[in-house]
Symmetry: C2
Subunit: 413 residues, 2 copies
């Protein structure tokens, strides 16, 4: 049986672990390192698929959790699968739904067989097992599916709290739900990491066995292990030994510092099979992407360009620009001079000015989020395209000079 | 001094008063009869200007009231005028701000010099006189400006109430604000209509005198007179005698029946100068447009395609389709088979299905309003294009067979 995914490495850096390649699926190819926009509920919020494509995106991500709850995988399947449903003809990757089940929902239980949670749509009780996660993704029909993993807090929630409220709440829930905590009446974070690590391997084996469309869809395994490099090594070895066409690094960007993210990725990426695509889930800022590409990661997804775009924060090569700021009131410049996105590039009448964009946000007009989302998506695609070029040219200094954000997560441009 | 607007009539029906023409402004031409999408606050809600243009729109309308309050005409002028501000390179028409001052705001007073109202943005007191309405529009810089008119309720609010709450509230306010009501302690609707009629003539004279950019912008006068045909005749004669490059029929679609609209328009349109464009303000449904085109009207604007699109109501040749209906849940068809809009026409992956559109609305996703707005705008442009063709071919029966909505305001497709 022919594999529905192939990965060809076109160039390798000789000064770092970065590589440039092409992944080919039944819905076409995408260049790596690739940034995947997030189309949570089967739509990149506010952006027509043709405009998503025009930003340079060659693959996008949908969230199984959201599509499972509404409209349901059976309906998506009946409508011809997620590509046809959302009218996107290029490759699609779906996550397993596990992460959102932990982080968005009131989780009722995590046990060795799966996770039970309360639907955020109608409050009903939903059960996700490795088999069900695969069944749902077989129905949705993406090119790349993710295995169900157990993703515990990276930080011991009894010692410190993640600063993001959602992650803090998930960590509190996790510590109260862990089986061992119920038995011992205390929470043992190290033991929880080991449970998750071992469980994630067993769940991947079950996912592989449950996969019914291996000639059309590719299932990626996920490495866990928290911020502990020894556990990452153990997980990478066990997960990497299983028969998957690609592997992801999970449990990253769930509350750790940028330094911890870089440390985990630099350690883990080279442990994964060198001839298969490596995907760093949910990451991140340009600095994180830069470090991860140099560590040998090939695929990324993150909500930053879309979520921040809706909040009037525009990414530029020098940092983020807050378009609600009074300084933009009568600023005739585009978000980023020289950017070729729909918002910045000159049309028959010029470009969209910062002044106009600020007006749209102040007047609560949809076109503001739309234009800044388009710009931000293009920003990340331009950043990745330049990274791909730099892997061949090795002019990393030139890259960093052009993209100061690659070295510094400056909050303001 | 050369006039910044010319109107060339290309064809006239021999069986009705309809005519087909081209209006040329400094920002290009548009074909008439024309439908102008409404870009209230300097944006057609949720739609990139290039996509508005792709629906076939050749001119659009902005509301002076909204731009006056935010971001203010001085800022728009500083940014190069409304075309450059909103990045629309074709013709733009602005209304005077008067109608919204009556219908949206808490009106403080209407007197012979102007109207005073409370800003819906910050609660401040705003005064609009004929001179200020023109000053604001001279600053905004549209190709076509509208004179400030006095637009009283078309129905006596002490006898019956308009069914739309907003119009009913405006009528109540008007009856309590009328000068005569203060003196006589009663409201005399007929007297109010006469005051408005006479005042509108005086205000147009003042607008013409106040106009500072007659070589760049064209000022249209507005006929009033309520549902009383004698008063319409009087107004058309007095307004039509003044030196304007075009004329509008105002005070229509403010609570009257479709029959009353048709009656007013059939009576009034032929009374206006035959060689100048005629604009029916704020109208309407396809049946209203059909009747008005046959009566000799050349220009229209209405919020129906955009407002209804945001509410999941799609226009079709047979009536409106409510996309939230359960019947759409697994309906694989486009909104209207054969429609060539961005939502209906087949792309590389097919069209956007009713099932997907329903999902977007149920999930509160922006792309739903966006796609249905685009479809609705295209619907009205296709309707107008077919009307323009029919004026030359005189095949009115063929037109009505293709567009049943032209004869029947069916609420559901």
């Amino acid at each position: 049986m022919a594999r529905p995914l192939s990965f060809e490495i076109k160039a390798r850096s000789t000064t770092c672990n970065a590589r440039r390649g092409v992944v080919t699926t039944l819905h076409g190819s995408f260049n790596t390192p690739a940034f995947m926009p997030v189309g949570t509920k089967g739509t990149v919020k506010g952006i027509l698929p043709a405009l998503v494509e025009a930003t340079g995106a060659e693959i996008l991500l949908n969230n199984t959790y959201h599509l499972l709850l509404r409209p349901g995988p059976e309906l998506v399947s009946q409508m011809g699968g997620v590509h046809k449903f959302m009218n996107w003809h290029r490759p699609i990757l779906t996550d397993s739904g596990g992460y959102q089940a932990y982080s968005l929902s009131e989780t009722n239980s995590i046990d060795d067989d799966g996770v039970t949670f309360k639907s955020i749509v109608d409050g009903s009780t939903v059960r996700l097992t490795p088999e069900r996660a695969i069944e749902v993704q077989n129905l949705l029909g993406p090119d790349i599916m993710m295995a169900l993993d157990d993703c515990p807090p990276s930080i011991d929630p009894t010692v410190e709290r993640p600063t993001q409220p959602r992650l803090a709440a998930a960590a509190r829930r996790d510590s109260s739900l862990s089986e061992r905590s119920r038995k011992k009446k205390t929470y043992d974070h190290v033991a929880r990491l080991d449970i998750a690590n071992e469980r994630t391997v067993r769940w991947l084996e079950r996912c592989i066995r449950a996969h019914r469309r291996p000639d059309e869809q590719s299932l990626f395994g996920i490495v866990q292990g928290g911020t502990d490099l020894q556990r990452r090594s153990w997980s990478a070895e066990r997960i990497g030994a299983l028969d998957c066409p690609g592997f992801a690094i999970g449990g990253v960007a769930v509350g750790e510092s940028a330094e911890d993210i870089a440390k985990i990725v630099r350690h883990t990426a080279p442990l994964l099979p060198p001839d298969k695509p490596r995907y760093l889930m949910g990451v991140g800022y340009e600095r994180d992407l830069y470090e991860a590409v140099r560590a040998g990661v090939d695929m990324f997804d993150c909500v930053l360009p879309t979520r921040n775009g809706r909040n009037a924060n525009a990414f530029t090569s020098k940092g983020q620009l807050r378009l609600r700021n009074a300084a933009c009131t009568n600023d005739p410049r585009p978000i980023e001079p020289g950017c070729d996105c729909e918002a910045c590039r000159p049309g028959p009448n010029g470009h969209f000015t910062r002044a106009y964009l600020r007006h749209l946000f102040m007047a609560d007009e949809m076109l503001g989020p739309i234009l800044v989302t388009i710009h931000n998506l293009r920003h990340f695609q331009r950043f990745m395209a330049d990274l791909r070029e730099t892997i061949a040219t090795e002019q990393w200094d030139v890259f960093v000079a052009k993209w100061p954000v690659a070295k510094d997560r400056a909050p303001e441009a």
